[in-house]
C-alpha cells in the first residue's frame, strides 16, 4: 500500500519536473556567463540580454511581434465578440453549424491553414510582399479563442437584464454599451489575452507567410536555432516569456483569469 502510494506520488512529481525542465534550462542558459552551457553552470552574467537588446534583427522582430500581436488581438476581439453575441443570443437553426464554422481554424492543423493561405496569396497576386497577409493569418487563428471566451461569459449573463434595459427605452446599441459589454468584460479581456499569446508565440502561420524583412520573434528564434547555438536566443526567449507572463498577470489583476473550455 505504502509503496504504491509512494510510487504514485513519485510519478506525479516527476511529471511536474518534466513539465518545467526545458523552460528552467532556457532561463539558466540565458544567465550563463560563457557561450557554451556547461553543467554545473559557470558564473552569472547579463551579457546575452545586452546582446539581445543591441541586436538589430532581434529588436526589429520583437517590435514586429508586439505590433502584430496587439493588432491581431484588437481585430479578433472586434470580429469575435459580435460573433459570440450572435451565436448565444440570436442564432437560430444553424446555431451549431455557425459555431463549427467560427471554430474551424482551431480544428485544422495550423500548418495546413498556413499552406492554404500561402497558395491563396500567391494566386491573388499579393504573395508574401505585404505584412497584411501575415496579419490576416494571425487574426484567422486568434478569432476562435475570443469567441470561446466571450461565449462562455454570455452564457452566464441572463438575457432578462438586456430585456429590462430595452423595455425601459434603451436602443439596442445603448443596451450593448451600458449593460452587455460591462458584464461580459472579463470574457472579452480573457479572450484578448489568449489572442495576444497565440499571435505572439505563433510559428506555423508566420513560418510560411512572413515576408522578406518582416520576421516575427518566434520565427527569428526558429531561424537562429536551425543554424546553430547562440545564447542570445535564450535571452530573447526569456524576454518573450516575461512578455506573456506580464500579460497574464495584468489580466489576472484586472478581471481574474478564466480557463479555456473547448
Amino acid at each position: 500500500m505504502k509503496l504504491w502510494r509512494g510510487l504514485f506520488g513519485g510519478l506525479i512529481g516527476a511529471v511536474y519536473v518534466f513539465l518545467m525542465l526545458p523552460i528552467a534550462i532556457v532561463v539558466m542558459a540565458s544567465f550563463n556567463s560563457t557561450r557554451a552551457l556547461r553543467f554545473p553552470p559557470e558564473g552569472f552574467s547579463l551579457r546575452w540580454y545586452v546582446a539581445f537588446f543591441e541586436s538589430e534583427p532581434f529588436m526589429e522582430s520583437f517590435r514586429l511581434s508586439l505590433v502584430l500581436g496587439v493588432a491581431a488581438t484588437v481585430a479578433s476581439v472586434l470580429i469575435g465578440t459580435p460573433a459570440a453575441l450572435y451565436y448565444v443570443r440570436f442564432a437560430g437553426r444553424w446555431r451549431e453549424a455557425f459555431r463549427l464554422y467560427v471554430l474551424a481554424p482551431l480544428l485544422l492543423p495550423e500548418i495546413l491553414t498556413a499552406i492554404a493561405l500561402l497558395f491563396f496569396y500567391y494566386q491573388i497576386g499579393i504573395g508574401t510582399k505585404s505584412v497584411a497577409g501575415l496579419f490576416i493569418g494571425h487574426v484567422v487563428v486568434c478569432i476562435p479563442f475570443v469567441f470561446l471566451q466571450v461565449t462562455a461569459s454570455l452564457y452566464n449573463l441572463s438575457p432578462s437584464l438586456e430585456e429590462a434595459a430595452r423595455s425601459l427605452g434603451a436602443s439596442p446599441w445603448m443596451t450593448f454599451l451600458r449593460i452587455t459589454l460591462p458584464l461580459i468584460k472579463p470574457g472579452v479581456i480573457n479572450g484578448a489575452l489568449f489572442a495576444f499569446i497565440i499571435s505572439f508565440d505563433n510559428v506555423s502561420i508566420s513560418l510560411l507567410l512572413k515576408g522578406i524583412g518582416s520576421t516575427p520573434l518566434p520565427m527569428q528564434l526558429f531561424d537562429y536555432l536551425r543554424w546553430g547555438f547562440d545564447p542570445t536566443t535564450a535571452a530573447a526567449s526569456v524576454v518573450s516569456i516575461l512578455m506573456t507572463l506580464g500579460a497574464v498577470v495584468l489580466v489576472d489583476r484586472l478581471v481574474g483569469l478564466r480557463a479555456m473550455r473547448f
Binding site: W4, L11, I12, V15, Y16, F18, L19, M20, L21, P22, I23, A24, I25, A29, A36, F39, L78, I79, P82, A83, Y86, Y87, F90, Y101, V102, A104, P105, L108, P109, I111, L112, I115, A116, L117, L118, F119, F120, Q123, I136, G137, V140, I143, I197, D201, V203, S204, L207, L208, P218, F222, L225, R226, F229, A234, S237, S240, I241, T244, L245, F262
Partner: protein, 281 residues
C-alpha cells in the same frame, strides 16, 4: 423591427466574411491546387490530373512517411495519456492548498512558445548537451538523444501534456468519489476500482484528450524539424519541403491525404471507444 433583424445579421457578418475569405476559400483552393498539373517553370501547369494523389498514396517513400507520422502520433498520444492520467487524477481529487499552484504548473507551458520549449530540449539533449556532458563526467558512453525519434517524441509529449490533462481532469472531477468508496466497501481492490469504476467513467475525457493530442501530433511541424534535424521525416516536414521545391500541386495533394487519413483514424477511434463506452454502461 426590420432594423433589428438586420442588426442581428450584421453581428455575424464580419466573422462570416473573414472565415469565408481567408479560410474556406483558401482550403477549397488547396483542393483545386492538388488537382493541377505539376510544372517546373511555374506554380502549376495547364490542365488537371489526379496523378498527384496517386503519387501521394502509392509512392513507397510517401506512404512510409505517412505511416511513420501516424505511428509517432499514436505513440505520443499513448505516452501522454499514461503520464497525464495520474496528474489529472491527483489535481481533480486533491484538497491540498497547493492545488492552484500545481494547476498553474500544468498550464504554464502553454504560455511558453513551442520554439522556446524545443530550444530547452535541444540544450539538454544535444550531442554535447547537458545530459551528455554529465555522462562524460561519469565516464559513461554518449547517448544519442536527439536527431532521432526519441527526441521528437519526448519534446512533443511535453508540448501536448497540458492538452491531455485538461479534459481528463474535467472527466474525473465529474465522477462522484462515493462510487469508488462504494466499490471499495464491497470488497474491490484498488486495481479493480480503477479498471471497473474510474477508467470506464473517465472514458469521455480520455476520448477527447486522445483525439485532441493525436490531431495536434499529426500536424506538428516545428518540433520534428528542429529536433529531428532532417533525420526524422513526418508528412508535415515533407509537405513544407515540397513547397520549398515549388512542387505546389503535389504538396497540396500530400497535405490533403494526411488530413483525410488523420480524420479517418480519429473517426475509427471515436467509433471504437464509443462501442467500449456503450458496452460497459
Amino acid at each position: 423591427m426590420s432594423g433589428i433583424a438586420r442588426a442581428k445579421w450584421l453581428l455575424a457578418a464580419p466573422v462570416g466574411a473573414m472565415v469565408f475569405g481567408f479560410f474556406m476559400v483558401p482550403y477549397l483552393n488547396i483542393v483545386v491546387m492538388s488537382l493541377r498539373q505539376p510544372s517546373t517553370t511555374q506554380a502549376y501547369g495547364p490542365g488537371f490530373t489526379t496523378d498527384n494523389f496517386v503519387k501521394a498514396a502509392t509512392d513507397p517513400l510517401y506512404v512510409v512517411t505517412l505511416l511513420d507520422t501516424l505511428r509517432l502520433a499514436a505513440m505520443i498520444t499513448l505516452i501522454t495519456l499514461a503520464l497525464a492520467y495520474p496528474v489529472a487524477f491527483h489535481l481533480a481529487r486533491t484538497e491540498s492548498r497547493w492545488r492552484g499552484v500545481l494547476y498553474g504548473l500544468v498550464l504554464s507551458p502553454l504560455l511558453v512558445g513551442v520554439v522556446i520549449r524545443t530550444f530547452g530540449w535541444i540544450i539538454l539533449l544535444a550531442n554535447n548537451g547537458l545530459i551528455n556532458q554529465a555522462m562524460r563526467q561519469l565516464d559513461l558512453p554518449r547517448l544519442q538523444l536527439m536527431y532521432n525519434e526519441f527526441g521528437v517524441v519526448l519534446a512533443l509529449v511535453h508540448i501536448f501534456l497540458p492538452f491531455m490533462v485538461l479534459p481528463l481532469m474535467g472527466a474525473i472531477q465529474g465522477i462522484d468519489p462515493r462510487l469508488e468508496e462504494a466499490a471499495r466497501s464491497l470488497g474491490a481492490d484498488k486495481r479493480r476500482v480503477f479498471l471497473r469504476v474510474l477508467l470506464p467513467l473517465s472514458m469521455p475525457g480520455i476520448q477527447s484528450g486522445c483525439i485532441l493530442v493525436f490531431v495536434l501530433a499529426c500536424g506538428a511541424y516545428v518540433t520534428p524539424l528542429l529536433l529531428g534535424a532532417g533525420r526524422v521525416h513526418t508528412t508535415t516536414t515533407v509537405v513544407v519541403h515540397q513547397l520549398e521545391l515549388f512542387l505546389w500541386p503535389f504538396g497540396a495533394a500530400l497535405a490533403l491525404v494526411l488530413s483525410l487519413v488523420g480524420l479517418m483514424v480519429v473517426w475509427l477511434y471515436a467509433r471504437l471507444s464509443g462501442r467500449v463506452l456503450r458496452g460497459q454502461s
